[in-house]
Subunit: 172 residues, 2 copies
Amino acid sequence: MLDFAILGLLMERPRHGYELRRALAELGFWKVSFGSLYPAIRRLEKREAIEATKMSGRRKAYQVTEGGQEVFDLLLQSDPDANETDRAFQVRLAFLRHLPPDRRIQVMDRRRRGLSTQLKTAREILVAARSATKNKDRYRIALMEHAMHSTEADIAWLDGLVAAERGVASTV
Amino acid sequence: MLDFAILGLLMERPRHGYELRRALAELGFWKVSFGSLYPAIRRLEKREAIEATKMSGRRKAYQVTEGGQEVFDLLLQSDPDANETDRAFQVRLAFLRHLPPDRRIQVMDRRRRGLSTQLKTAREILVAARSATKNKDRYRIALMEHAMHSTEADIAWLDGLVAAERGVASTV
DNA sequence: GACTGCTATATCGATTCGATATAGTTGGAA
DNA sequence: TTCCAACTATATCGAATCGATATAGCAGTC
């Protein structure tokens, strides 16, 4: 997924490593460590998906090669697996516009199903925790409840996104 | 943090590895992989913080030693660093009851400050993204907005927890 | 008694993290 | 002008973590 994110960002325009890190963080992904970033860049270079151009000083700007375009498409088209990470879904969403509308809805729908399952499990656990142990820790209950509410909010948000996508599709 | 979580769970009662994994997931933490769990158990055994007792079959129940209690206290008392992970904070919260009330509020307050900073940054980036590039991708904007709202919800939730803690403190 | 599925422990290679090393660049005070 | 402090940027290291897989015991069932 890191490789996918890097490729996607470089497809917009060439960037150097440090800038990639900032861009990843600004998309709300996560502050990837340099110990992940540079090995990922090396991987992509080795696959000849990206190539470096020297800039002033030590800087190197990386850009996507023709082969890299194909690698990106491959990753983009790949089926999201049922229980993929929050992070993986975020990255997928950031480049979702590259997919046709019907595929977009498919991706969001699969995510929705995953979240629903999670929610159901969480609810069962919470009920069990509340009843079984009469005096289960207040902070833990709060933790579980908050996790549940967050998941509910995520689902509602997804529904909004899907509705918007359908709305655009029907008017076009 | 994994070591801390394991110790905390084992302090309640002895469990075997598989059960630890389930317990971690049920607290809403995360489904730790066995490739993390068993090395963590080995680490704790080597530090003589926990010890194994054989059960039926291959099962081994782990329990906290006297030294382990001290290790747990040490981790519990350790200052949360400014930008600790969501996960790290969750674990901390799950065992927050072991701290005196004033320390609890301190921990939550630090977390709140961290989230506020995050929120401020996120807001600036969002404003920049909205104005600068007139037609920035819809999904990315949605992604950023949702991240912002989630953080806001987290802060509100934290405030509630702190208020509850103060409420209890004042009535006692 | 063989088979299927579940529980449980364990390990492997690849990836990621957090910390740190190193070097270029900028700006400001002495 | 020179020095130094702060920031940008690339890179690497060891430890922790992940995801996948191997293995084995145990329960039910046909």
